[in-house]
Amino acid sequence: MTESPYLPTPQFARWRKAKSSAVTGILVACALAVIAPLFLVIYFLLEKGFSSLDWNFFTQLPKPTGEVGGGMANAIVGSVVLLAMATVFGVPFGIFGGIYLAEYGSDRANNWIRFAADVLNGVPSIVWGMVVYLLLVVPFKGFSAYAGGVALGLMMVPLVMRTTEEVLILVPQSYREAALALGVARWKMIVVIVVRTALKGIATGVIIALARIAGETAPLLFTALGNTFWSHNLKEPISALPLQIFAYGLSPYDDWHRQAWAGALVLMALIIVLNVTVRVLSRDRSKTD
């Protein structure tokens, strides 16, 4: 009986299989290492923070130093207010800038604008805080919710601009031509046909930007400052979840540490909800197109 020349020796086959499973094992381990931190974060937040989540946490103001109890109601509302203001300040510039890039700009101008947006995307968030401090806090002689909203809004602009540009470019040229061939003015074509077709994608970009800035602390340190009471005036300092977590986490009181964990858990939940919304929106988009 003759051996086929195509059959490897048993030793060689074993060695090859061992190599194959070793490499596969390394890849699986790396993939797990990528997702493990997320589960660790969620695990720690649930373990340390979940027990402190009660009705009071969502409804009460922080108690004075030394007293046990109280909650972060003002910080939760403050975060919502700041995110809303950031959206109002930042999103229009981002969307209109994205429309300019996709529909109007010359190649030369666009290259510069994209470059600037990419650099802005990389500006450390503490720097945004310092810039807005100089622009809005010093001249108006006081920390304010406005300053915080502007700082967060400025961070949203480059993000929203680039995603808007990307989704507008994805709208097929044939829709633009069809609208123009009806004798429709260009700006109407852009608003009614192009932007409307890409609306979900633009919304997705806004939500991604919101998720990015929702947990930012540094830009708020020099602008919104934080507040242990309800803030009734946007010209006054306002509290925010990340600020409150920062302040409580640095404190020497166990009860405040407990609440900082709970705050972090709420913040994390908010960001997961935003990301799930993005997933749902994107899935709808791929289905209808």
């Binding site: 609208a179 009806l182 409307r196």
Partner: protein, 271 residues
């Protein structure tokens, strides 16, 4: 079969008979994309309320020519043109003439059907009117029906007007696009290979529709399909390498062309 002398002269001159109304009167028209010349010295008079087919091999400039008729080529940066183009006597490129105004009178149907995906069938038909400021519900409703009737689509969609335009079949979508173009009541309809993505049955429907359109509209159709040009056009223009080689009655172009290049193309020897 020999052409009579009178017919042959018409073919050579490339001009419609005297009494005919002219839709497009084009003289010495040339067009460049950057450095590349796409059309050279085209002179042609396209008759009103007739179907004119434009044939020629790929890259001969026929789509460019069509897109210049309602200034759609301006979407391509770096184009430049010379010569005179008149539509019912009005200079298409005169000072102060807006492309938007021209396109309301000279509509266009594209190779690939492109109903707007965010809109229903009815909204697709009416979008041109709505965006041009028509608000009157009665006007909109009557234009909707009229346009869909003209496009031979009414019977198929009258019960599903609120469904998305993209839910229709390919051939229906193309007729929807024709209805959309007709709704703004243009005088002329340009069609850029409107059937090239359709099956033979859908193509037959569109060709039948083109026959009825000529009663009210001037139709200029670019086609790769010579049988289609022969079947549904009154006049045929043959373009080759950016030049108008021959223009005349469709029957003459296909049976007794005067130019040997035309003859070679229509008999299938090249292209």
């Amino acid at each position: 079969m020999k052409a009579s002398p009178a017919q042959a002269r018409t073919v050579e001159a490339g001009l419609p008979a005297e009494a005919e109304e002219v839709a497009f009167d084009i003289k010495n028209f040339s067009l460049w994309y950057g450095q590349r010349q796409a059309l050279q010295d085209v002179t042609i008079r396209i008759p009103a309320k007739k179907v004119t087919a434009i044939i020629g091999p790929s890259g001969c400039g026929k789509s460019t020519f069509l897109r210049a008729l309602n200034r759609m080529h301006e979407l391509t940066p770096g184009t430049r043109l010379e010569g005179s183009l008149r539509h019912f006597g009005e200079d298409l490129y005169g000072p102060g003439v807006e492309a938007v105004a021209i396109r309301r009178r000279v509509g266009m149907v594209f190779q690939k059907s492109n109903p707007f995906p965010t809109m229903s069938i009815a909204e697709n038909v009416l979008v041109g009117l709505r965006l041009n400021g028509v608000r009157d519900k009665r006007v909109l409703q009557s234009r909707l029906e009229e346009s869909l009737h003209m496009a031979a689509l009414w019977d198929e969609v009258k019960d599903v007007l609120n469904r998305p335009g993209t839910s229709l079949s390919g051939g229906q979508q193309q007729r929807l696009c024709i209805a959309r173009s007709l709704a703004v009541q243009p005088e002329t309809l340009l069609m850029d290979e409107p059937c090239s993505a359709l099956d033979p049955l859908a193509t037959a429907k569109i060709e039948e529709l083109i026959q009825t359109l000529r009663e009210r509209y001037t139709v200029v159709i670019v086609t790769h399909n010579m049988q289609q040009a022969a079947r549904c056009s009154d006049r045929t223009a043959f373009f080759y390498l950016g030049r108008l080689i021959e223009f005349g009655n469709t029957r003459n172009i296909f049976t007794s062309p005067s130019n040997p290049q035309t003859e070679a193309y229509v008999s299938g020897r090249f292209g």
